[in-house]
């Protein structure tokens, strides 16, 4: 760019904002324009999501290697999961992504009532996801399938050894000792991955609570949608992580003969 165009650009920027003192209240002092503020924070959110991709990437890489090594045990472990709850949770999260997207839209359209409705729906769906996850975790606890905290090899070697549990799950077949040990690896990864995902959900719901309170005060319906939009990006990202977790953890060789 030649010198003259650079100066012209500076002059144009000045012309667009003849009164530099008069900024909307939500513009931070160090940004020149609202547009710059939006661009910068939005870009920052995408970068943060990139770090999250790398963060979960380490987990996924470990999972894939272990799954390659111990495939039969991973199939057995996977069949212990309740596919019904898993599918329900997937549906819950996808719907919550829709309500979140509608929330962003409402903020852009400056519809306060709609925004509150959709944020609250998203909040409820997020809690529903965690509720279902709790039911699933509880089932694993009862069956002694929680590595490190409540684990027993014999629950795999001889499922009938605990008659209380076995009468609820009569379909469980005994496994060889080697398989039982590697199933523990599967469950370690299951808890590490879904736990890390659930932690992101909890953080998301906490921020959402804060946002609902702020939205009631009308914070996001005056043209400043950056916060809602960036949170939306985060929420969709956490959703996408689950979209990968669900098939990798729940859907291993469900129909081996088909």
């Amino acid at each position: 760019m030649s010198d003259s165009t650079a100066i012209a650009r500076g002059a144009a920027a000045e012309a667009a904002h003849p009164h530099p003192g008069e900024h909307p209240p939500y513009q931070r002092h160090h940004f020149e324009t609202v547009g710059q503020q939006f661009d910068a924070t939005n870009f920052a959110m995408w970068l943060f999501l990139l770090t999250e991709v790398m963060f979960f990437g380490g987990l996924f890489a470990s999972y894939l290697i272990m799954r390659n090594w111990y495939y039969p045990a991973f199939v057995e472990g996977s069949h212990q999961l309740n596919i019904g709850w898993g599918t329900a949770n997937t549906a819950v999260l996808i719907i919550s992504s829709f309500t979140m997207a509608m929330g962003v839209w409402s903020a852009e359209m400056r519809k306060k009532g709609m925004l509150l409705l959709f944020l609250s729906l998203t909040w409820i769906l997020g809690m529903a996801f965690l509720g279902i996850k709790t039911i699933e975790y509880h089932e694993k606890w009862v069956k002694h399938h929680v590595p490190g905290l409540n684990w027993s090899d014999s629950s795999f070697l001889n499922p009938a050894s605990d008659p209380e549990v076995h009468k609820d799950y009569p379909g469980d077949k005994p496994l060889a000792p080697e398989m039982a040990q590697k199933a523990e690896m599967y469950f370690f990864l299951y808890f590490a991955m879904t736990g890390m995902h659930a932690l992101h959900m909890i953080i998301g719901i906490s921020i959402l609570t804060f946002m609902i309170i702020r939205a009631r005060q009308g914070a996001y319906t005056t043209g400043h949608v950056t916060y809602v939009e960036n949170f939306g990006l985060y929420w969709h990202f956490v959703d996408i992580i689950w979209i990968f977790l669900f098939p990798l953890l729940y859907l291993i060789s469900r129909f081996p003969n088909s």
């Binding site: 650079a6 160090h30 920052a44 770090t51 790398m54």
Partner: protein, 554 residues
Amino acid sequence: MSAATIISLPDQSTARIPKMNFLTKENGLLSWLLTGDHKRIATLYLVSITFFFFIGGALAGLIRLELLTPQNDLMAADTYNKVFSMHGLIMVFFFLVPSVPATIGNFLMPMMVGAKDLALPKINLLSWYLYVIAGIMMIYTMSVGGVDTGWTFTTPLSTHYLNTHVISAGLSVFVAGFSSIFTGLNFIVTIHKMRCPGMTWFRLPLFVWSNYAASILMVLGTPVLAITLVLVVLERTVHIGVFDPAYGGDPLLFQHLFWFYSHPAVYIMILPGFGVISEVISTFSRKRVFGYTAVAFSSVAIAIFGFFVWAHHMFIMGISNYSALVFSLLTMLVAVPSAIKIYNWAFTLYKGSITFETPMLYAIGFMGLFTIGGLTGVFLGATGTDIHLTETYFVVAHFHFVMVGGMLMSFLAGIHFWWPKWTGRMYPEKISQLAALTTFIGFNLTFFPQFILGTLGMPRRYAAYPPEFQVLNVFSTAGATVLGIGYLLPILYLTWSLKYGEIAGDNPWQATGLEWQTQSPPLTENFPEIPIMDHEAYDYEWLERQQRKEVASV
């Protein structure tokens, strides 16, 4: 050396530090602890990393004292393991990684791109708090008995066999990692979105380019370390995991994940240093950096290649011959952009009007030491030599030539170079030249003998060694003492200069960067009004015209 100098200070009898600046704007502890000003956060970082540098340095002193004699006499072998582990952890994660970016970078980045602040001031402050929390956790770890895994947390040693405080150390590094992620993220956003009118990518100072490259590495690499440490901590807590072969895990997987971050991490540490050297070399030879574009792209090239060489840390760990071959080849590639930098700096010096103020002395020291460090890196990148030399003092010497001889020299060059901008006062020139010289001599005396020790086969990480290695070890320990004095001097005279240094004025070095065109210390908002960049970087003729205009208007 002639008395030639480019320092031009204002008349000391009338000069005053500007009343209104970022240091005096607000007073009181809270105005610092809740600040959003990148220059204040940089100052907080500077104080904290100096604190950790001296802890790490004291531990280094203990290591050298133990190695003065062949017997294991000063401390127990276990204690020695803890001392070198803590030295590594503190120096890598609490000094080297944040050293230039979080202090000098934080201070300069917005000024160099012509902005009022970093894009995300609150995230910047959060980054410092995370650093402090991580630091407290590390000091806690040390005070309850430390950790003796080495700084690499090698599994299954760290997850299974040791009774030391791996969990708190691991979590501390985890938190410190996020502090570094937030710094990197902030830099990338600032460089992309906050440049002033006329500031095109190829008008950015090279310091910005090299920090940009380092930030890419921080943002992409550090999360992988974070999740790896989470897995180590989990494995240690619940006694099942993916790294310990006793549970069916894969220790090589840990090495892959760890070095996927930790190799790029050495570029996180050194790239910002390159940036400092570019600025200093250009200013003190009064020339535009030779091959500006090549130097700019070489930083990015180092960042990209840096992600594809990690397995050269694993040649003796049982990776396949084919991947050893490929990674060895890729490692050689990194030498190319590094050499581009060194050659271009050398060509910048060629026919320049060179003066030897302190920052320049450090920079020239850097060029020599980094060249040795880099070339020995090529030895280690070759699989055959590496198998002989890895796990010996050769690796220790190589790493310290790059990190201490490279990074620390450039950090000190930068601190001296921008000290007048930061504080408004000059450091005392003569004694600081002496300190630069002391550091250089002490450094070579400490670490050069270690190359020889390594080729003779002295293994690293042992408290005792065969008596025939003693002479070289005595040299090394003596050198460490000299080096220690070299590092103590700056802290003394820089503190002294805060009150008694000469008033520096806006631009004591006659440098061209935007940061020099504003008052020292700068205003909280950096510039009275957002500047318009109407010239190329390092355009000394522009500066001359500018000064002539000023004289004419007076």
